[in-house]
Symmetry: C2
Subunit: 393 residues, 2 copies
């Protein structure tokens, strides 16, 4: 077995969850997933497809109907794109989840030994993928300022040179809730055009955005780019449509990448199931029946949880403008993993440890606030407050 | 974009199929897929799961119920395994199709620059995967003898040295129908134990086996190995259960590979959909209601097609002992791809070109005989015979 693969870190989140196995009393907020089932009409579209007998292979890049629906959705959200050209369906590939789109992009772009830069803290999959492909990975950490993780733009740009093959950035960010402004995206894109660096933008949380905006979503590199830019933007049905378990995502790529990407999909998974893609079509066609409600509920969750956490003595956290996580520093916590395991055992509270996302986030904890029942969040805060009072330091 | 990825061959099969686009009169036998819908009870298991609301993430390695069912199935088929120890469920990983299991195994085992040997002709995905990972690939061709592609065992073993990280072998073979005997498998396994070489055995056609056998399936490396051998055996639900479009497969691996494989699945696709896995559980629990019928029908297809092809003047092919393909040499054919395109245009017959599988198979054509209606096969042969008579050489 490859040393590289043995050395990949096991999920610290799963390690905490394992500490809670068989403990039905644990209030779990460790995974990045809502506890709400996929809406009926989306599930029904898949059921209808299965019952019609759509059980055969399909096109590597996805059903043309789905690619068209995705292209139209993305064009509506990003009308400035490429001097107001709509995003062509030929630039869309349908994948087995957002994570699969990210892995395929890294396979397409990164040769062994290539220099890759990633902005951290970030969910661990994004930094593991270039390592799997044999790349040389460098990380550029955000800095916590009054509980808000903040980008030093000049520092990032200084790290991206003509030798840098790929920049990986996830904003709105998991776990910190950090977002990129349009101005920052423009500076990054301009710089990467000069250095010839590809940008892999994980924008799966773009709809989960709580700041005022014209299009009702976070700023995107797609707002600024032309089709030929070295840019791959990755999306997922998971968060905006409550479809985590369906494993359906997509990427927007330059036209020149489409044919090679079809080959890579053939060699990785061949295609997404037709009946899963039918669910995706239904979701996009009736997005207005789902996503605004999901986002409004998540905002209500955020607005319940974050002030309650901020009221606890010594906790450091800012209100996240995007995503579905509260990320906070616990006073006195040195090893997040150890603290998270203790919280499971001693308080029945399941959170994700910050050092799962970067060493610099040790001492921090991630709380996924995607909870159908907001009262669960209050119960969780009560458990944390109680534990903080009685726990030995 | 990586030169390696640009240089990956596009599917010649798809190139032929594209030549037939919009031609509903073409009799298509180009893809490796039955034209029969997945059985009702398997589809119903997925529908029930979706309706129950099983739409969340699941374990990276698959549902424990499915892994247990797979382990029991494999243990029944390969009772000699590891001195009659059953195959433990901990050695099973559920994947997004057989091709995904193969890709994950290559990711786990092959470092950039590693020496990899593959037996050819073989379906192109198997040789593309090590190239994607930056490996150095060498191929060892089978030799056609009276229309039957045959292994020169000594020649193969001589190519596998202590520097060889991985041997890739697909038997029963797509496209040739070549199978490995138990004695050959033993010789290969013994040799690879000495050189420290991993074996990646694509055995997805093991149930599609037409020679007499004790267990009703092709010989497997699992019959001879112990759990700790450097061996990964890959399977799929696609062929034995008419489930191509479901993208569900699995691998059997040494215990030491399980934890790293769980990480790789997390970073590639995260997990298979629960409702798809429920379909897999139903399929395995009632395999006797599906697979024997599928195999008997495929054998009837083979026994209709192969003698009819052998009766055509100058055609060279042997009766395949496994798989679902007739692979034959057409007299005077130099460029399989060109011939296959002409057959589409001039005869309305869709076959896969031999040079899609290896340069040494140029001049050969692959015919997938998985046809629900056997009369379609006869119609196809009539078209071929007619074309051979009238076509300019």
């Amino acid at each position: 077995m490859r040393r590289t693969i043995e050395n990949l870190e096991e999920s610290k989140i799963r390690e905490v969850a394992n500490a809670g196995l068989g403990r039905p009393d644990v209030l779990a907020f460790w995974f990045g997933e809502s506890d709400e089932v996929t809406p009926d009409f989306i599930r029904q579209a898949a059921v209808d497809s299965i019952q019609r007998g759509e059980t055969f292979y399909s096109h590597n890049l996805g059903l043309p109907e789905l690619r068209t629906e995705i292209a139209q959705t993305m064009s509506r959200k990003h009308p400035l794109h490429g001097n107001a050209q709509p995003i062509a369906m030929e630039r869309i590939a349908v994948t087995a989840g957002g994570v699969n789109a990210l892995m395929l992009a890294v396979q397409a772009l990164v040769d062994p030994g290539d220099d890759v830069v990633a902005v951290t803290p970030v969910w661990p999959n994004l930094t593991a993928q270039p390592l799997i492909m044999g790349a040389h990975l460098r990380t550029v950490p955000l800095q916590p300022v009054n509980g808000a993780w903040t980008l030093d733009l000049d520092r990032l740009l200084a790290q991206i040179t003509a030798d840098t093959k790929l920049l990986i950035v996830n904003a709105p960010n998991n776990p910190t809730g950090w977002t990129l402004s349009t101005e920052e995206q423009r500076a990054i894109l301009d710089h990467c055009r000069r250095t010839g660096t590809w940008i892999l933008a994980d924008e799966v949380y773009e709809n989960l955005y709580y700041a005022p905006s014209a299009q009702g979503c976070a700023p995107s590199f797609l707002d600024l780019s032309v089709p030929e830019d070295r840019l791959v933007v990755v999306h997922s049905f998971s968060k905006s449509f409550l479809m985590t378990g369906w494993r359906l995502g997509w990427m927007v790529m330059p036209p020149a990448l489409t044919v090679p990407m079809g080959k890579l999909i053939e060699f990785n998974t061949s295609c997404a199931s037709v009946f899963v893609q039918r669910a995706g079509i239904a979701a996009l066609q009736h997005a207005d029946d789902v996503t605004p409600r999901v986002v409004a509920h998540l905002q209500a969750c955020r607005d319940a949880l974050v002030p309650a956490l901020q009221a606890l003595p010594g906790l450091s956290l800012a209100t996240p403008q995007g995503g579905m996580y509260a990320f906070f520093q616990l006073p006195g916590a040195k090893d997040s993993l150890e603290v998270a395991k203790r919280l499971v055992r001693e308080a029945g509270l399941g959170l994700a440890p910050g050092n799962a996302f970067a060493p610099e986030a040790n001492g921090w904890l991630r709380w996924c606030f995607a909870s159908k029942d907001i009262a669960r969040l209050h119960d969780g805060v009560a458990r944390l407050a109680d534990w903080m009072q009685r726990a030995p330091k």
